[in-house]
């Protein structure tokens, strides 16, 4: 049977439902326009969050690497500064010591020895530098300074060379003290080398340099041998003193190679850090772009949709007002 009538409640409920639907759409579209985010992210990625979660995890990790690379860069820069100081000191003192030996006047040797002693203090102070509460060359014992005072070092060294009678003996004793266990090793207050620091995904920076590095041992040995002269080693034996000064100068001079090697190693790490920084920030922007493609809405798209739904809602209002006036009761008064 075909219907002869359509119930009043039918039209009311259809209009109500459409109104509610359109209002919901307006709300959704306006939220998306304002926040730039999808209102239902799950539907946006069709229930597969793996890519988005991977991107977010990488972004958080990159934020972590941003702070570690800053730390490591500052640390390695500080090491390079100390290395520069050491280089300056040793070349200066090496020149003085070697020149004084050739002049063979006691005062020249004395002056060079005094300089060596003073500069030993400077070098050790530089090695004891702390950067934001961390010693540069103490390894894992980062709260300790790696070395004690210059006077303590010289006192220990004096004992080591006390039996020496020739310049050759002195040099051998100094070398032994600085290389064999129980000497310089025992004087070192730091700990084992620190482990490498993560600077990028799967990449670490190895800044495991301590005061025990041969570059420092040799430099300090040369300076300390010169400084021993200032403490009256072999006093009165002018030629032996000159010989020792000569040998100390030479030892300092030869230490340059090892220092250069160390500086180059640190330089490589610095370059690695810079490279990691650049790569990290490039990855960061690439991931952010990829993320916005997945999770964000196109603002132009969203505003067009808002406009469209707005128009539909207005037409619905118009229809509602027109239709509700369409009643027989209006005409049969």
């Amino acid at each position: 049977m075909s219907r002869m009538s359509v119930g009043d409640a039918s039209l009311t409920s259809i209009l109500q439902r459409q109104g509610a639907f359109l209002k919901g759409e307006v709300q959704r579209a306006s939220t998306e326009v304002v926040t730039g985010r999808q209102s239902d992210l799950g539907a946006g990625v069709r229930g597969d969050f793996s890519p988005l979660a991977a991107i977010d995890a990488s972004l958080a990790r990159l934020a972590g690497y941003r702070s570690t690379t800053a730390d490591v860069a500052f640390f390695s820069q500080s090491i390079q500064t100390v290395m520069g100081t050491m280089a300056d000191i040793s070349s200066e003192v090496a020149t003085s010591l070697m020149r004084s030996a050739s002049l063979t006047t006691p005062t020249q040797v004395n002056a060079a020895a005094a300089e060596a002693r003073a500069r030993l203090g400077t070098a050790m102070a530089a090695m004891n530098t702390q950067v934001s509460g961390r010693s540069l060359f103490s390894g894992v014992e980062s709260d300790q300074t790696p070395l004690g005072s210059a006077d303590d070092l010289l006192t220990a060294l004096q004992t080591a060379v006390s039996g020496a009678t020739t310049a050759n003996d002195v040099e051998a004793a100094v070398r032994t003290w600085f290389t064999a266990p129980g000497g310089y090793d025992a004087f070192y207050q730091g700990g084992a080398a620190a482990s490498p620091i993560p600077i990028a995904a799967g990449e670490t920076a190895d800044l495991s340099v301590t005061a025990l590095d041969p570059a420092f041992r040799d430099t300090l040995a040369g300076l300390a041998m010169g400084a021993l002269l200032d403490l009256g080693l072999m006093s009165g034996q002018q030629s032996t003193r000159a010989d020792i000064a000569q040998r100390a100068g030479l030892m300092l001079h030869n230490s340059e190679d090892k220092r250069a090697l160390l500086a180059a190693r640190i330089g490589t790490v610095e370059a690695q850090i810079e490279g990691a920084k650049t790569r990290n920030s490039a990855e960061d922007s690439a991931l952010k772009i990829a993320r916005s493609e997945i999770a964000s809405v196109d603002p132009y798209d969203a505003s067009i949709r808002l406009k469209e739904v707005q128009g539909q809602l207005e037409s619905l209002y118009l229809i509602t007002s027109r239709v509700s006036r369409l009643s027989l009761a209006e005409y049969i008064r």
């Binding site: 039918s10 969050f49 793996s50 972004l59 958080a60 730390d71 961390r134 620091i197 993560p198």
Partner: protein
């Protein structure tokens, strides 16, 4: 035949039109009343001694389409169940959290990962260790929160089942009473339309709870059956019983005896599965939520918690931890045992030894959980291992997942994706059943009162009334004429 019979015919016309006007006014007044079925006066020619004698009111009929109503009721039940499922799965997705929301599990994992990287570069810095501790605590807290949300949903479902069962029982009793009243009034020959409207409304109100079929019996009686085959009402009403549980823990299930099942007339019935007699309504939906969906969601969270605990208690990760002792994450402070997997997500906690909030010391994050004194402050090797433990690819110990190795973050993403895909599926099911219900409701409403049609009828009634009145006047004139003849 005679003038008086013309007069009485016209009088029946007057009374029939008044009755029509009366019914019509009731229709107009109830034009938007839900559950009101349009009435119509049934007219017939009155026959007296073989000849027509005016019009007779045969009765008042209710204009209902019972087929449509039955379909709509089934659709209501279906919609109730689907809507419930979609709502709960949406809750699960929210409990895990999409990664763009701060405080979601994904965001908490990323934060923990980031804090471990930052601490590895400055193991001496207390602030960075404190960040690791707070991120670890927040990750454990996030799992507990999600687990609590799911258990809370179970408690709510349990309470709702109790209230639905209550509604069902009360409504069935009310329908039983109405049936009785209808029987006596129908027998006495009254207009019972209002009572039938009322009964229809009550049946509508329970049709979302269980899918039911209405079977007419004589004397305006109805019997109600669920589509699964339980007699709800055929003569006396069935009685449902259920006892709610106020606190629900993950271990509690129907099987373990911790939760109540459903009884009909004192006999237990299956609440889930294809043989369940209440299958396919809100009631079955609530049982499914409490006993299947929430349990499955909790299982995923427990698997995630277990993976986290096992990653950080692997042998050799932290040399200061004795074998069998808990790692960075614990089962309420104790070591995790595989038999205790159910509900682990609700109990997981950060190891108190390294958590300043529980009286522990931060340096144990760097030097080992079993360390008794502080070690070298620059030692980052354990922190580096912890980071690898979190991000390393590892096979899962729990069942129910696609085999393969995952990092912890991708396990979390898999679980979220699973929850989200289920939710989207349920959403599309729910919107399909909602659309079907809407269509049926619209069709039913189209058969409701149309005021325009009623007004048209009113015009006709008015005209008929005037015509009948005119007949009476004319007959009156005729009688007067007859009387005038004699004078």
């Amino acid at each position: 035949m005679s003038i008086t019979s013309a007069l009485s015919s016209a009088l029946t016309g007057l009374s029939a039109t008044s009755r029509q006007a009366e019914v019509l006014s009731s229709n107009v007044a109830n034009a938007t009343t839900p559950g009101y079925a349009r009435r119509e006066v049934q007219l017939g020619a009155a026959v007296l001694a073989g000849t027509g004698q005016g019009v007779a009111v045969i009765g008042v009929s209710r204009d209902v389409d019972q087929y449509l109503i039955n379909e709509r009721r089934l659709s209501q039940a279906n919609d109730g169940e689907r809507g419930l499922t979609a709502g709960f799965l949406g809750q699960v997705e929210t409990a895990i959290g999409t990664p763009d929301i701060a405080g979601s599990l994904g965001a908490r994992i990323a934060e923990f990962d980031q804090s471990l990287i930052e601490a590895a570069s400055r193991p001496d810095a207390e602030a960075r260790l404190a960040l690791v501790a707070s991120a670890a605590r927040s990750l454990a807290g996030g799992l507990t929160q999600a687990s609590d949300d799911i258990q809370q949903a179970r408690v709510t479902a349990d309470r709702q089942i109790a209230s639905e069962v209550d509604t069902l029982n009360t409504s069935l009793k009310r329908i039983y009473q109405l049936n009785a009243e209808l029987q006596s009034f129908t027998g006495a020959g009254y207009d019972v339309s209002a009572l039938m409207d009322q009964r229809q409304q009550i049946i509508d109100s329970i049709s979302a709870i269980v899918p039911l079929r209405e079977v007419p019996r004589g004397m305006n009686q109805v019997a109600l059956f669920t589509t699964g085959g339980v007699t709800l009402l055929d003569g006396p009403p069935a009685s449902f019983s259920f006892s709610p549980t106020s606190t629900i823990t993950p271990e509690m299930t129907i099987a373990s005896g911790g939760l109540s099942g459903l009884e009909v007339n004192g006999r237990p019935v299956a609440t889930g599965g294809a043989t369940s007699p209440v299958l396919g309504g809100r009631l079955a939906g609530l049982f499914a939520l409490r006993d299947d969906l929430a349990v499955a969601a909790q299982g995923k969270l427990d698997a995630m918690a277990r993976d986290l605990v096992e990653r950080f208690s692997a042998a050799g990760l932290d040399p200061t931890v004795a074998p069998g002792a808990p790692g960075l994450f614990t089962d309420q402070g104790a070591a995790f045992l595989p038999v205790n997997e159910v509900g682990l997500a609700g109990r997981i906690a950060m190891n108190a030894a390294a958590d300043p909030a529980q009286g522990g010391a931060l340096y144990r994050l760097r030097d080992g959980l079993g360390a008794t004194t502080q070690g070298p402050p620059g030692n980052a090797s354990l922190l580096g291992s912890l980071k690898l433990a979190l991000t390393g690819q590892q096979p899962l110990s729990s069942g129910g997942f696609v085999a393969g190795s995952r990092s912890f973050a991708s396990l979390a993403a898999d679980i979220l994706s699973d929850a989200s895909a289920r939710r989207l599926n349920a959403d599309s099911d729910a919107s399909f059943s909602a659309a079907r219900l809407t269509a049926l409701t619209d069709l039913e409403k189209q058969g409701g009162v149309d005021t325009d049609q009623e007004l048209q009828m009113l015009l006709v009634i008015e005209k008929n009334y005037a015509a009948n009145a005119r007949v009476i006047q004319t007959v009156n004139d005729m009688i007067k004429t007859l009387i005038g003849l004699g004078s």
